[in-house]
C-alpha cells in the first residue's frame, strides 16, 4: 500500500493523463450529504415552550408514578427541555454542562430524523417516542446524570440504546408493538439479566438499581 501511496504522490502531476482512463468506473463514488442530525438551536427550541406547561409535563413524567400514560412527542421533549434549562448539578461538578446539553439535543434530533414520516424511515414515530420516554425516565431516575446513550437502529423497525462503563453493559431495545427489553451484562462476573418494560409503566427495579453503575 505504501507503494501505491508513493506512486500516488509521484503521479499527481500526471493526473490529466490518468483522467483519460474514463473506462474506470465505480458506480459508487462520491460522498453523501450528512442529512441526518442537523442540529437546531437548543435555546430557540427551549424558549418556545411555555414554562408552566413544561413543568407540568415534567411532574407528570416522574418515574415514581405507577400509572402513567404515554404523552405525545412534544410533551416528552418539553419535559426534557425543562430539565435541561435548569442547572444540572450532576454535570456542573465536572464542568460538562454545555457539552451534555448539546449531546442531549443531538440525541433528540437523531430520534426525530430516524422516525421522520417517510416510507423508508428506520423506525416509527411511536417507537421513537417510547425510546424518548424511556430515556427520560432513566435520566430522571439517575438524578439527571445518566449519559446520553449510544443508539442504533436495526432490522424490523427496532432501535437500541446502549451504555458501557468499565465491565458493565446495559442495553434496551425498542420495537413496534412490543415491550421494550432491557439487558445487562457484567463482563467481569458473567452475570446476565434481562427485564421487559411496557411503555408507560415504572422502570423495572433492577434497571433503576443498575443505573449508578453507568454514572
Amino acid at each position: 500500500m505504501a507503494g501505491i501511496m508513493d506512486q500516488t504522490r509521484l503521479a499527481e502531476s500526471g493526473v490529466a493523463v490518468f483522467k483519460s482512463l474514463r473506462n474506470y468506473t465505480t458506480g459508487s463514488s462520491g460522498t453523501i450529504a450528512a442529512a441526518m442530525n442537523t442540529r437546531s438551536s437548543f435555546g430557540a427550541v427551549f424558549y418556545r415552550i411555555p414554562v408552566a406547561a413544561a413543568i407540568a409535563h415534567a411532574t407528570m413524567l416522574s418515574p415514581c408514578s405507577a400509572s402513567l400514560t404515554r404523552p405525545d412527542t412534544s410533551s416528552t421533549e418539553s419535559a426534557i427541555m425543562t430539565r435541561l434549562a435548569r442547572p444540572m448539578e450532576n454535570v456542573l461538578s465536572r464542568g460538562d454542562e454545555p457539552r451534555v446539553k448539546e449531546q442531549i439535543q443531538e440525541h433528540l434530533d437523531y430520534l426525530r430524523a430516524i422516525s421522520a414520516s417517510a416510507d423508508d424511515a428506520p423506525i416509527s414515530e411511536d417507537t421513537a417516542e417510547v425510546a424518548r420516554w424511556t430515556w427520560h425516565m432513566m435520566w430522571s431516575a439517575s438524578g439527571y446524570a445518566l449519559p446520553v446513550p449510544s443508539a442504533c437502529t436495526g432490522p424490523d423497525g427496532r432501535l437500541m440504546y446502549s451504555w458501557d462503563r468499565g465491565h458493565n453493559h446495559l442495553e434496551v431495545e425498542f420495537g413496534p408493538e412490543q415491550d421494550s427489553e432491557f439487558f445487562y451484562r457484567d463482563r467481569a462476573s458473567g452475570q446476565l439479566w434481562s427485564a421487559d418494560h411496557r411503555a408507560g409503566s415504572a422502570l423495572p427495579s433492577e434497571v433503576v438499581n443498575s443505573l449508578r453503575l453507568f454514572l
Binding site: 501511496m5 490518468f18 463514488s29 427496532r158 439487558f183
Partner: protein, 215 residues
C-alpha cells in the same frame, strides 16, 4: 490466511478471514458515531434472516467484496453508511454456554431479487464474498439472555470502519491507484477489477492509519 476464492455453501471460511457487515437498516446516533462503537443491534437477525436454514447473519469477506459493492447489492441506500469490521477468528472465539454450538462463519451464495419477488443467485462481480454467521439463533425461550450475549460479543469484537459507504476517496486518487495496479499486475485483470482493487487498498490503508492514530 485470507480467501481468494469462495468455498461451497456451508463450508467454513478460512481462519483470519477479514469480514465486514453493513446492517441493512443501521443508523448510528451521534454518540455512537463519536465512540466508533458497533452496537449489538447491528448483529441482530432480521425476521427474514431467521427464516433461512440455518438462520444466518449476512457478512462479506473483504478480500472478495469491497464494502461499496456490498452496499450496492443492498440497494445503495444513502443513509446506510456504517461498515462494521471483524474477523472470522473473532467470531469463532466467542464463548458459548455448554448447550450451544460454536458460532461460525460459512460461505453462503449471495442472492438478489429478480424483480418479481424471487430470490436468485447474485452472480455480479464481488458477490462471491458473501458469507453468513451461523449459531446466533440457538436455544429456546430460556436462552434469550445467552443469545443477547452472543450479539453483544460480536459488537464488541467489531470495529466501525473509518471509511463509510459509499467511500469518500478522491476519485483521482482511486484512478491513480487503479492505474498503478494495472501496471504492477502485468496488465492482468480488467479496468473494473483494477478499480475495485484500488478502492480495497485505499480502504485498508486508511484503516491502518486509523489504527495507528488510535494507538
Amino acid at each position: 490466511m485470507t480467501p481468494n476464492h469462495p468455498g461451497e455453501d456451508g463450508v467454513s471460511v478460512p481462519p483470519q478471514t477479514r469480514l465486514f457487515r453493513i446492517g441493512a437498516n443501521a443508523h448510528l446516533s451521534p454518540e455512537a458515531t463519536r465512540r466508533r462503537k458497533a452496537l449489538p443491534l447491528m448483529f441482530e437477525l432480521s425476521t427474514e434472516d431467521k427464516k433461512t436454514t440455518p438462520p444466518s447473519l449476512s457478512v462479506w469477506a473483504e478480500e472478495l467484496t469491497i464494502a461499496d459493492q456490498a452496499w450496492d447489492f443492498m440497494g445503495a441506500k444513502p443513509k446506510n453508511t456504517v461498515v462494521a469490521c471483524l474477523s472470522a477468528d473473532d467470531v469463532r472465539a466467542i464463548p458459548v454456554p455448554p448447550q450451544f454450538q460454536q458460532v461460525n462463519v460459512v460461505w453462503e451464495q449471495a442472492k438478489r431479487d429478480d424483480g418479481d419477488g424471487n430470490l436468485i443467485p447474485n452472480l455480479a462481480p464481488g458477490a462471491e464474498g458473501h458469507c453468513g454467521i451461523i449459531g446466533l439463533a440457538q436455544g429456546g425461550t430460556a436462552d434469550k439472555n445467552h443469545r443477547k450475549a452472543l450479539r453483544l460479543d460480536l459488537a464488541e469484537a467489531a470495529k466501525i470502519s473509518p471509511v463509510p459507504v459509499p467511500h469518500d476517496f478522491d476519485e483521482d486518487h482511486v484512478r491513480i491507484a487503479a492505474y498503478f495496479l494495472y501496471q504492477t499486475t502485468h496488465l492482468n485483470g480488467t479496468a473494473e477489477t483494477h478499480w475495485v482493487s484500488a478502492i480495497r487498498q485505499l480502504r485498508r490503508h486508511r484503516v491502518r492509519l486509523d489504527g495507528m492514530a488510535q494507538d
